[in-house]
Every structure is written in structure tokens, then in C-alpha cells.
Subunit: 348 residues, 2 copies
DNA sequence: GTTGGCTATACAAACGTTTGTGTATATCTA
DNA sequence: TAGATATACACAAACGTTTGTATAGCCAAC
């Protein structure tokens, strides 16, 4: 077989026309006659012509590569965001390079080097939980490469980002519990330097306020949102003189931990304590009872992030004006937060 | 700032030497004097020189891109394999393009087109569960692009692949149950056109044989290995005149389904029925009791796959001789398969 | 003092595109 | 009929590298 792939000049030679004509014909350029175009297309197909992206990229100064940095792709959320990203990116002719920071700043920094090295045209990033500074992104800015954050953003930073309305999510989750009749609602809260946890907590506070309920500090448990944190958290809450009748957790992981410990102690969910999580992870369907959770529109988030990048790319002045997209969360009500009154009646 | 990045010729100009000298200096070529090299390196650093991969790739006929197709990256297994792949690939100077087939052949086909289009130098693939033919891979072969399968391979296909010894895994899992004293061991079995499920089943059979136990067909439940399949499977088994005292499932997902249904019915694990899964998924640590499972050496598998690709790349004759790497599985014993006798004593 | 063999560098072609500009032919306008 | 316009194509430069080959300078050997 052909040791070398068929190139544009092979087509030109075989058709007896110039290289530039072939190039323009393939690109459907208006100044090429339909007859010629058809000839070119036909031969290209026959010879299994595949354009050389690197050559084109070199000439056009583009790589058609889009870089993505996520903390991990274990769970449901980032996996789905990546899916959304890939869908839109593919449509725009981009290939996606995915990097995992493993929730570690140092790794995040390395990821950036890698992507810069690969000459990506833009970088989409959701911060590691340990990231507290912006310095390692300066290089990206200096090279005038569009930078879009999604979900996790550093507080008070003027950058383009797509986030969900975490405050609204926290508000809805808590309000839902209150509507079901629960009155002593606790909260598992995460690192406050990250927008998401801060806002979810704010939503929780807002809902309490709306119901004229006092904020009981001892009902707010600060942690890292892991499974074990949930176990520790519920243990702590149960030990209180006046334990809560419901918990709104800023993460599904910690709520699963809580659920496990509750079951171990022989307590029933939601009869004894109702639970609501955040992220709508897949495993919320693995538990018994099914967990109420806040859906984050993961796929939409990914799509929006790419669209934001595409918009920024158009602004050739290089001084990208930061834009922000806010998606609305969606409360998925399931068994773990059933109506209190009704349950009590049933329990009789 | 510089509208255009610094190139090799900028360096050459500023140093008053030729482009080729700079290129060779950067590559640490022996025919360049140390003095010159140092000058070049110094200036390169000062000017933040970043090599243009596309130009180099064009010249060298390489893309430094490696394509990966996995069924999905939701669970633990493929996520970790990808991690292993990325580690070794990065060391060899490759960037990794990840595609998800979503367990769908049509999607898989599209993924291949995408990767071919991106001019990857090799493709690593784990088949979708619905893939039964090889036709869509012919194009890859024709272009003489190294193709390496991992984990899921089509039966009887002469291709390079890295797999685990699934038979051994099934054998160990079953033998472990028998050693613990269980004597009526059932099996959840998957689609038999895929190597992995076929071999796991064979391992199960081999272990029974070794213990001179008869193969009871009604104790083998064929399914698709999803959570619901596990529920259905255990329901079926419990309804038998003589139910099993243990189940070895070819997947962790179905074993979780079984566990949930057992608990729902008030049956205890492992006292009433012991369970062993396959894959050592993360959520085996989310369950109560913890699940015994067969670890698949995910990261090693990814690493081995890349190494296989690198080897094939060296064989420039293009006619790659298929090689196969077989990794040894690792039984992770946890609570769900405790010793039968001991449990009975305790239960007294 | 010619030849040979180093060493360190320069020259130039090539990789496969894209794209600005030049040009031949045909068509239209005055 | 001369000139303007439009159409459809060709020419050639450029993108930033790598790499085979040529060359200049130098030293040793005959």
C-alpha cells in the first residue's frame, strides 16, 4: 500500500490542476467552479484523502486543540461536563485534551504546562480544591489564550466562567426540607474559599431566614465533603443535645457517609432524619432510600463553557472581557426527603 | 507584548548563528559545541521559547497524539486505566485524546474517524459491549496505525492486546468462596462474545471442577451486568427450590444490585449469602458490608497498553506482529465473603 | 605542501497546507 | 473596438521545524 498518505498535491497532479485550486475546492471556496469542485471531491473520496491537520494548523497558526483541566473524572459530575464539552467542541472542529489535577495545585500547574506545550487554543478549567492562588494561570493570560472557568472558581476573580447558581441550589434544597415540615435542618459545608461551597451555604442561610428560623451555628458542620466527613458529621450532630431532623449537605459524597452511619445506628431515613445532597451523582440511585439531590446541569455546563471559549476566540483584540454564565440548578426530589407529617402518619 | 511567539529563527538571528544550529543545539545534538548549546539554551529560556509542535510534527511526520477509546469513564476501572495511559504516554512525549463510545458500536465508529482525523499515531481501545465485528477497525489497519486493545477484546482476533487473566480471576474468586466453606456457589455471567465474561465464567467452572462439585446450570444467571440485572438475578436465585449460599458475579455493579435486594429482604451478607464481585470499583467501599472483589490492575493495564504501542511503533515494517500481555488479577478479600463456619459460630 | 580527517557550523530542501496576488479567457459596456 | 469587469484558475510565499549535505577551519600525517 501507499507508504505515504495522499496529499492535496497528489490530487492536483492527477487532475492536472494547481494545488491552490484543490485546496480552495475542498474548502468550497466561491471562486472555484462547481465542475472543478465536484471533480476534486470525487477524487478525494476515491483516494481516501485525509487533510493533514498539522500542515493546515501550521499555516493557519491554529491547533484545533482545546485543553480541559478537571479535578478528577471519577464521579458523575465532571464526567458529564466533559461529555458536554466534547460534544460542542467536536462540532466546532476541536479535539479535546483532558487533564486531571487530582485536586492538587502542583499537578494543576503541570497540566497547564502540558496544555501550553501542546499549543491548545483555549483552556477550560475547574479548580482543584486546594487551589487558592491564581499565579500559575498568568502564563496562560500572557500568551493571550482564552481561559474559561467552570463550576469551581476562585472568589473575587475577574475571569470568564460558567457556574450554576449554587446559592439558589442551596436555597431550594433547604426550602424543600422546610416545606416538608422539617424544622431543625443541619448543613454540611465545604471549604469557603471556593465559590460553590460558599454559595450553597448562603442559600441554606437564606432559606432559614425566609422561614424566620434562627441560624444555629452548631448545626453547621464544616468539612472536606468526603464520605468519611459525612460519617463524622452525622456522628457529631447525633451527639448534640438537640439533634437535627434533617441535613442538607453540599456534596453527595458526604451525604452517603451520613446515610451509612445512620443505618448502622438503626435510624431511619427520612423518618428519623431526612437527607438532601448536592450534585445528583449516579450513586444516589445506588442507595436505599434514593437520595434527594441538586442537579447541576453538568452537560449544559460543559456546553456553555465551550461556547464561551468560542466567543472569546472571536474577539481578536486579545483583551478578553470576562463573561459569566449562570445556570439554574434543579432539585431532584427522591425518597430521602419525604414529607414529615405523612411519614409520621404512616408510621402509626 | 509579542503578537507572535518566539521561534527558532528568532533565536538564530539574535545569536548570529544559523537556524539549523539552533535546532540541533536545542536537541542536544553531539555535533554542536557546548559553548553554543549553552548560549542557545540560555536565550531560549530568556525569551520563553516554546517549540512549535505542529511544525516539528509536520516535518517529522508525527503528531505526538495518542488516541484512546473507552466505553465510558463513569466507573473506577476505565478512569484508572486512562490514568495509567496518561502517565506513560506523557513520559514518552505523547498527548492523549480520549473518546467515549458509550457502549455503542456506532459511536465507536465515529470515535475512530475522529482519531484518524486528528492523525493520532496509535489507537488504544476497549470495546463497547455491543461490538461484535471488527470491520470499523480495518481502516486503522490499512493506514498502518498501531492498534492495541485492552481489557475487552473480540474473541479469536489476532491483535495486540493487554488483558488480565480473567479466568484466573474467576477461579480465585470462586475458589475463595469454596475455601470459606460455601458449597452452593452461583454465578452472574455476562455476554459471552466478550473475552472477559467468557473467561471469568470459565474460571468459575474450573474452581467447581477442582472441588469436585457439579455444575448446576440453574445457578448460572446470564445478564448484562447492570445494577438491575443483579437485583433480578438474586431474586431468581432466591426463588429456586434450593437457593445458593454464595454468588460470584462477573461485575461489581450487579453484585451491588444483589446486595441491595438481599438487605431489602432482610437477609444478611455474608451470613445468609456471601458475595464476590469483579473490578474492585470504588463503590465497593460504599456498601455495607464491604464487598470482596477482583482487582484488575487498572493502572498497570493502561501503562502496559501504552508500552505495547511504543514497541509496535518501533517496528517500522508496518506489519505489526500481534503481541499479548496478560496481567494477573488480585483478589481483594473483604467482609462480604467471610468464613462460613466462623460466622455460624459467631451467630450462636 | 598536498591529502585526509576531524569539528563545528551553514545552506537549503522538505513536510502539506493556506492565501495574497497575478493572469488568461470570456463577457459586458460605452 | 477598446477598455472595464468578472470568472476561474495558477504561482509562489509563508508557517516553524528537521535533517542531509556542503563547507570552513584546523591539525596531523605522509
Amino acid at each position: 500500500m501507499a507508504r505515504t498518505r495522499t496529499s492535496i498535491s497528489d490530487l492536483a497532479q492527477q487532475l492536472g490542476i494547481s494545488i491552490s485550486t484543490v485546496s480552495r475546492a475542498l474548502a468550497d471556496h466561491p471562486s472555484i467552479s462547481d465542475a472543478t469542485k465536484k471533480k476534486v471531491w470525487k477524487l478525494a473520496k476515491a483516494l481516501h484523502y485525509q487533510p493533514n491537520h498539522m500542515a493546515a494548523g501550521l499555516r493557519k497558526g491554529r491547533s484545533n486543540l482545546l485543553g480541559v483541566i478537571v479535578p478528577h473524572i471519577d464521579g458523575h459530575f465532571f464526567t458529564m461536563v466533559v461529555k458536554g464539552i466534547e460534544a460542542v467542541a467536536a462540532k466546532a472542529g476541536y479535539n479535546v485534551l483532558i487533564c486531571q489535577s487530582n485536586e492538587d495545585v502542583a499537578h494543576e500547574q503541570k497540566n497547564i504546562e502540558t496544555l501550553l506545550n501542546a499549543q491548545v487554543e483555549g483552556i477550560l478549567v475547574s479548580l482543584a480544591r486546594t487551589t487558592r492562588t491564581f499565579t500559575h494561570f498568568e502564563k496562560v493570560r500572557m500568551q493571550q489564550i482564552p481561559l474559561v472557568f467552570f463550576d469551581r472558581v476562585l472568589e473575587g476573580l475577574d475571569v470568564s466562567a460558567v457556574v450554576i447558581d449554587d446559592r439558589e441550589g442551596g436555597y431550594q434544597a433547604t426550602k424543600h426540607l422546610l416545606e416538608q415540615g422539617y424544622r431543625r435542618v443541619a448543613h454540611f459545608s465545604g471549604p469557603q474559599h471556593l465559590n460553590i461551597y460558599k454559595n450553597r451555604r448562603q442559600g441554606y442561610l437564606d432559606a432559614l431566614h425566609e422561614y424566620n428560623l434562627p441560624v444555629v451555628e452548631e448545626l453547621i458542620f464544616n468539612c472536606n465533603m468526603a464520605l468519611e466527613d459525612g460519617e463524622r458529621g452525622i456522628e457529631y450532630l447525633l451527639a448534640l443535645p438537640e439533634p437535627p431532623d434533617a441535613v442538607f449537605s453540599a456534596s453527595d459524597f458526604s451525604v452517603v457517609g451520613a446515610l451509612q452511619l445512620l443505618k448502622q445506628r438503626g435510624l431511619r431515613v427520612p423518618q428519623d432524619i431526612a437527607l438532601v445532597g448536592f450534585s445528583n451523582e449516579t450513586f444516589t440511585s445506588f442507595t436505599d432510600p434514593l437520595l434527594t439531590s441538586v442537579d447541576q446541569r453538568c452537560e449544559q455546563m460543559g456546553q456553555a463553557a465551550v461556547r464561551l471559549f468560542l466567543e472569546m476566540r472571536e474577539e481578536n483584540d486579545g483583551l478578553y472581557s470576562p463573561r459569566r454564565v449562570v445556570l439554574q440548578p434543579d432539585l431532584m426530589v427522591r425518597a430521602s426527603s419525604g414529607i414529615k407529617q405523612q411519614l409520621e402518619v404512616e408510621a402509626d
